[in-house]
């Protein structure tokens, strides 16, 4: 086992990794920018190294400085957390080339999943369902109609050269197809200089459901169930829960098995998350994240498995500490991402935290580097804490979450705590009836 690990990250996730290390008797090295000298991950680490000025490009993304920090501290392994360098295949290679262990997947898998087209091809051949679509560009209206009938209406017409929603049109049925096709073609021509379009099944009210997997170097692969992350704003997850209110045990076992088999076939190592859109009982692959996720604690809450501890064990060449049969799902967990933002406009609110009080009690976890007198720097993202609450069932979990939000105090700055308090009063949230568009619709209706 490693004696010393360098944590190449900041904020709550650096603290999260530090905690796993300390419980395993491993010393920690924090790296930080000049803006984070007083941050909790720096204060709690056994050693810390300032690696650059405030901008992330010059500090948390500065590979030579991080390698130099390994050299001067004698750290044996690097944990990249999430964001920053966690999905940078080149960083993983450089770390290994210098004789240190990268706590994460193999660079080839990071690279494969980073290329969205290659990823879709790879997982499809490994047996994971993807959104059905036409193979290649459509030459005629007749060809489009034929393809649409095979795929099933409604269909989405997409520009082959597209992106950002331009050149995208929905056709609900065969009658609407010709017009949607010609509009999409002319938009694509205008926007990208290329009128090639293709078809995909249109999912109108999908949920975002993702499956947590973990694989060791002995070929053992397990899934740890799903997380429902449908509450999103601008493709950013806001609140996550496990298990999903939309999935039953049989569906969970089926998708879990599909993912486990595919991940095993790819020869994947470490923790990973396969993200899906879920509609009418069907799963469609979005992407695979080759790292620890922000919302991993909801899975930890219902399985009792410490994912960071497993990551470190796997990187050290040890086997998984459990088998699939030993994985059980107990109760319900919800995570709220507490951001330093205005709860309505979502404008960032950095600055001095004048008062801080953490909620507590049974089934309550707050992963946060906040303390009274801490100044939130304006240089990084606005996530300042994750409140994760566990209950024996969803009803108990919701009541406990409501209680915790009322207890938590963060003075001096604005936070998204009031947003969650409002959401917990919504019947749709209480009953678990929401899709990936729900939050944006609700925010719009609130004005």
């Amino acid at each position: 086992m490693f004696e010393k690990i360098l944590i190449a990250n900041r904020g709550e996730i650096a603290l999260r990794i530090h905690r796993a290390c300390k419980e395993m008797g491993i010393a920690t090295v924090a790296v930080h920018s000049e803006a984070d000298t007083g941050a909790m991950h720096v204060r709690l680490a056994d050693e810390s190294v300032c690696i650059g000025p405030a901008p992330a490009s010059k500090s948390y993304l500065n590979i030579p400085q991080i390698i130099a920090a390994c050299e001067i501290t004698g750290a044996q392994a690097v944990h990249p957390g999430y964001g920053f360098l966690s999905e940078n295949a080149r960083f993983a290679e450089i770390v290994e080339a210098h004789g240190y262990t990268f706590i994460g997947p193999k660079p080839e898998h990071i690279r494969m999943m980073g290329d969205k087209i290659a990823a879709k091809v790879a997982v499809k051949s490994a047996g994971i369902p993807v959104v059905p679509g036409s193979d290649g560009a459509l030459r005629s209206e007749a060809e489009a109609l034929l393809a649409a009938e095979v795929i099933g209406f409604p269909v989405l017409i997409k520009a082959a050269a597209g992106g950002g929603g331009r050149g995208m049109k929905v056709a609900l049925n065969a009658e609407a197809l010709p017009e949607a096709l010609s509009t999409a073609r002319s938009e694509a021509k205008a926007a990208f200089g290329d009128d090639s379009v293709y078809l995909e099944r249109y999912l109108s009210t999908p949920r975002h459901i993702e499956v947590q997997v973990i694989a060791d170097s002995f070929g053992a692969v397990c899934h740890l169930g799903e997380r429902d992350c449908s509450l999103q704003r601008r493709h950013q997850k806001v609140m996550e829960e496990a298990p999903s209110p939309a999935i039953d045990a049989a569906a969970r076992a089926r998708i879990g098995e599909t993912v486990t088999r595919a991940v095993g076939a790819l020869g994947y190592l470490g923790v990973g998350t396969v993200e899906f859109l879920y509609e009418n009982g069907e799963f469609f692959f979005i992407e695979m994240n080759t790292r620890l996720q922000v919302e991993h604690p909801v899975t930890e809450a219902i399985t009792g498995i410490d994912l960071v501890r497993e990551q470190i064990r796997i990187a050290a060449g040890l086997p998984l500490s459990f088998t699939q049969d030993q994985v059980t799902f107990e109760g319900h967990a919800i995570e709220c991402r507490i951001n330093a933002e205005n709860p309505r406009t979502f404008a960032g609110s950095p600055g001095l935290v004048t008062d801080f009080h953490a909620p507590g009690g049974l089934g309550v976890r707050l992963d946060s580097g906040l303390y009274t007198g801490y100044t939130i720097p304006p240089d990084y993202d606005s996530l300042i804490g994750k409140l994760i609450v566990h209950g024996r069932d969803r009803t108990e979990c919701l009541a406990r979450l409501k209680r915790c939000l009322g207890e938590m105090v963060v003075g001096g700055i604005e936070t998204t705590i009031p947003l969650f308090q409002d959401l917990l009063a919504e019947p749709d949230i209480i009953e678990g009836r929401y899709d990936i568009h729900w939050l944006e619709r609700w925010l719009k209706a609130q004005g």
Binding site: R43, L44, A45, D46, E47, P53, A68
Partner: protein
């Protein structure tokens, strides 16, 4: 920003007055009641600013990179501080046994190497930012340094 869901007048003035009267009658300093989503707290100002919440001090900062913390206010007022532009290990001479690049008290010229910082097997010469006297060397041979750590003072 007004809460769009709040009723026109969320404050029950009569309730506040009643609570205030009870406060006076009983000589209490604070009453708090909760009805549904509404919570009202009436408190008597006892004069003098209320003390803020007290917290235990956070643990002291960890020692940077196993190195001693930067000396508090080295002869900064007397000269210009030369800071490390990178993380690495300091060497005061080009190779073991060789003469030191620069000694305290000597005159150095702009661009002259004061020391080197080794990082990733690369030797990075740290030049004097200007000509002057080397007043202080704040690091020792073989010492690990952080980004921004004070290395020397030139007067």
């Amino acid at each position: 920003m007004p809460d769009p869901k709040a009723p026109a007048d969320p404050i029950d003035a009569r309730l506040v007055r009643r609570l205030a009267a009870i406060l006076n009658d009983t000589g209490l300093t604070e009453i708090e009641v909760e009805r549904g989503d509404l919570r009202i707290k009436v408190a008597r100002n006892l004069g003098g600013a209320a003390a803020g919440p007290t917290y235990y001090a956070a643990p002291p900062a960890a020692t940077p990179g196993g190195a001693p913390p930067p000396a508090a206010g080295p002869a900064e007022t007397l000269g210009d501080l030369v800071k490390s532009p990178m993380v690495g290990t300091v060497y005061l001479q080009p190779e073991p046994g060789a003469a030191q690049f620069a000694r305290v008290g000597e005159m150095v010229s702009e661009g002259q190497t004061l020391l080197i910082v080794e990082a990733m097997k690369t030797m990075n010469p740290i030049p004097a930012p200007r000509s002057g006297r080397l007043l202080e060397l704040l690091v020792t041979d073989g010492q690990p340094v952080e980004f921004g750590e004070p290395l020397a003072v030139i007067g």
